[in-house]
Subunit: 295 residues, 2 copies
């Protein structure tokens, strides 16, 4: 067992932009001493309006960077669109690395929350068109109705997270979705936020849904799943992969220097990443390194 | 003089997406018998939030496709962001081809329209940050105040071109811009639509500006400039480049088969291009060919 195998795990977190920083924020809360490399493929965002073929190509290049250049031992795909359309392609490209998306954990959390078995999902165009949430919900015995809400990401990026216009747009989308659910004879009691930007709109979304409806944040669900995965692998390994067998004990390891603990990369617009990213991460984003993935 | 030099001119029109179809629409009205190849770099849109370096690389690859693969003899950069940030790079990449952007024609039209010499410009983030309109206006003795309106493109692409939410967003942006103009002691009488999506919002924008303010469509201004450029080159050539010396006379040439007259290319999402493009083009978009520019 080399020194590197007993160090805190190196987790690569990938998103098309900086929305995935909401997932990193949740991961930091669950695995405070792990080492993280976050890559935002900002030169080619948004993925939400692009085809499966293009998204898979971009996501694979990004995953290979995190594994090949940054030595990631785990990958968290902190992007609903890439999770929906490119998870298989990424896993094939880095076969030795466990890859976790946000869709399956989101569906697990919906299953745990829903009494009626009927679930609503709001997401980007591409995520909805993939029907990945509907499939993951169906596999768990849930019925899911999905709706694309393409204005919500631009509204968050404009900084209008508590603006009356955003409140109206959310109400229009949710009312349309609830009407569609009635039309389909569904009785939904749970709404999944199927985009990493949406946690910043949680207050407005909770105000727009019927009283008692549970709102599931797939960023938080993915962070919990990643924490369990890392724990489980540590416990199952014939020789322990990590010195600690739980996230808590990993937390007791000597803390590496901050620059090696939490590294940020973007394929473009590092200034904008740094400026806007702090609202998603919940703390200032330090230096962002520019990388060229050739696209 | 070969047959090809007397044929209708081959004009390459380039945009990051399909907003530039508003420019093509105006070009078709001015040069109805020219041959057009339109390329939307939809795999890498939107350019508006990306850096100069990235935008220039994408735009040059797109221009080289139109010249190298489609034989374009003129290029119209029907994208404000690419015109603002990549016109020099494109012209350097295809030195033998006249390249026309939308910024200079828009500034010319503003100069012709404005009595006070004070002009407002609304555009994407990247166009505004480049201050290309302000520079072009200053070169013409105008004072210009620019404002980024990043929600307008997504609102158009959601199809909310006459929606109450869009009306409010436009009013908020215009009111902020007018307040900024008062703060800068400007007396603006002209507003330039510095994004090819904005002509679809013209009615709402005209309702939001003060009475008497002129609204300039840079798509229309660019089409007029292209028509004059092609005319001028025909008249100035020692041996006529075209059989006809004006757009009208070019219109008298035998009309090539429709597929060769008007060809559409996109780097991704050809179905979406075809579906949404017709609102911009003002007529159904025929077959869209998928091309891979490797990015």
């Amino acid at each position: 067992m080399t020194q590197s195998t007993v160090a805190a795990p190196a987790i690569g977190v990938f998103d098309s932009g900086f929305g995935g920083l909401t997932v990193l924020r949740a991961l930091l809360a669950h695995l405070p001493r792990a080492r993280f490399a976050f890559l935002g493929d900002t030169a080619r965002l948004p993925y939400g309006s692009k085809s499966r073929r293009t998204i898979a190509r971009y996501a694979v290049e990004s995953a290979q960077f995190l594994v090949g250049e940054e030595g990631a031992e785990f990958l968290v795909i902190a992007c609903n669109t890439a999770s929906a359309l490119a998870l298989d392609a990424i896993q094939t490209a880095v076969p030795a690395i466990p890859v976790l998306g946000v869709i399956e954990p989101g569906a697990d959390a919906a299953q745990a929350a829903s009494q009626s078995g009927d679930v609503l999902v709001i997401a980007t165009d591409a995520t909805v068109q993939s029907h990945a949430y509907a499939a993951a919900c169906r596999a768990r015995g849930l019925r899911a109705l999905e709706k694309a809400c393409p204005l919500l990401v631009p509204l968050v990026e404009e900084g209008w997270t508590s603006h009356p216009v955003t409140e109206q747009v959310i109400r229009i989308y949710i009312d349309e979705l609830l009407a569609d659910a009635r039309g389909a004879s569904l009785n939904p009691d749970t709404l999944v936020l199927g985009c990493t930007h949406y946690p910043l709109l949680r207050t407005l979304i909770e105000a727009a849904v019927p009283p008692g409806m549970r709102v599931i944040d797939s960023a938080e669900a993915a962070a919990q799943a990643a924490s369990r995965l890392i724990d489980g692998r540590a416990a199952a390994a014939p020789q322990p992969i990590f010195a600690a067998s739980s996230a808590e004990r990993i937390g007791l390891l000597p803390n590496p220097a901050p620059e090696t603990c939490l590294r940020f990369f973007a394929t473009d617009s590092v200034d904008k990443f740094q400026r806007l990213g702090s609202a998603f991460l919940g703390r200032p984003v330090p230096r962002v390194h520019l990388v060229d993935l050739g696209g």
